[in-house]
Symmetry: C2
Subunit: 233 residues, 2 copies
């Protein structure tokens, strides 16, 4: 019964917040009056209120009201009773930290498995995977665990970037980092480029958007998946 | 009595492993016959033996023999009795994980405070700071803690990169990430560009190499430090 959109980014270059996704979200959240927003990832360290007001503005275009999870007395009940849920991007370490601190990870998984419509962008997409071990974020806080929702059977690398041809920088490429991950872990990783998203209908996971995505599996050559294909491991 | 070199990278573009640092290392490690190498960070997932042989080859040029910490029966005694120590780059999460698992973090701090000459590059430099919360690495393993050596009173961001002018990528810049860090933490952060290093003589920390470095302090404007200056907070 899962009904999720797992997007690489909230914003593509040159357009406004969530703009490129709005037509998709209008269908995805059809009939939803109020969406519950999880602002824990705090991009740029902005407050929960500031972040929620940005999201409120974007969703007003498709006539959906937005309420931040922090505005509810009881965060677990907020998740349990939500018509729809959106977890925004920012820092994945702080997001996961707060999901544990507020004890909402298990209940979030439960309602998503039961079919509450969900949107994740960036950090909010990373948490849909088995664990957060493929985030690009800086570990600015120490969460109690790296284990996340496991609503899909692989991990997400959001904002996936191809190696830069002719770069003189000696830091690791994204592909090298994911290969290092596979020395220690078996979980597959999907590199989602900005402008791509996954549409999850129950166990069917479809790649959407204008780019291919790069699938990394342990001891296998990476695969480029075309937009429109069902992702299978 | 500290005597440390804390370098942004082992390798600058277009030259061999440690090449640019060798003249400095020859002076720094004067009189040292055998250096103990900590290969725990495993760049690209290579084995401890493979990594140690790369380091052995580089140090042979300045007539220093190299032995990997994994070749000793007792890792704590290896650190305690080392003439000199080098921790190489790779993945900071795995490096810190193994320092805890092998229970050598405390003894490493102890010998460094007492004056055992040290070289760190990249991940091996990150661990010299208060904690590893400013690494750029992917969290491919979950270490028991993010707390590191604290041999210097601030954190290192190795391979520091300036924002790319005209970039269309929506992932955070390095500066944005460090600003987010300062929403949650007070520790200062020094962005060390590739080709720069810190020379630590007891409590005196001097910036070396051909680049400026960028110092980030909570609630202050970032500062560009010139090469040759003593770093003070």
């Amino acid at each position: 019964m899962k009904k999720m959109i797992i997007a690489s980014t909230s914003t593509v270059f040159g357009s406004g917040y969530l703009d490129y996704l709005l037509p998709t979200l209008e269908l995805h959240f059809k009939g939803v009056k109020t969406l519950t927003f999880i602002p824990y990832a705090r991009p740029g360290g902005i407050s929960y209120d500031e972040y929620t007001s940005i999201v409120k503005k974007a969703f007003s275009i498709i006539n959906i009201d937005v309420k931040g999870i922090h505005e509810f007395k009881n965060s677990k009940e907020a998740v349990l009773n939500a018509e729809a849920i959106f977890t925004g991007g920012g820092n994945t370490f702080e997001l996961v930290n707060q999901l544990y601190k507020n004890d909402v990870l298990a209940i979030l998984k439960q309602v998503l498995e039961k079919g509450t419509p969900y949107l994740g962008t960036s950090a909010g997409s990373n948490i849909c995977g088995v664990d957060m071990k493929n985030t690009n974020d800086m570990p600015i806080v120490y969460p109690p665990s790296f284990i996340t929702l496991g609503c899909i059977p692989f991990n997400i690398n959001a904002h996936y970037l191809d190696p830069v041809a002719g770069s003189t920088h000696m830091g690791e490429t994204r592909e090298t980092r994911i290969k290092e991950f596979h020395v220690f872990n078996e979980t597959a990783v999907l590199g989602l480029r900005e402008g791509s998203w996954l549409s999850v209908e129950n166990e069917k996971i479809t790649l959407q958007g204008k780019h291919t995505a790069r699938l990394f599996q342990q001891n296998k050559k990476p695969l480029e998946l075309e937009s429109g294909v069902v992702v299978t491991l």
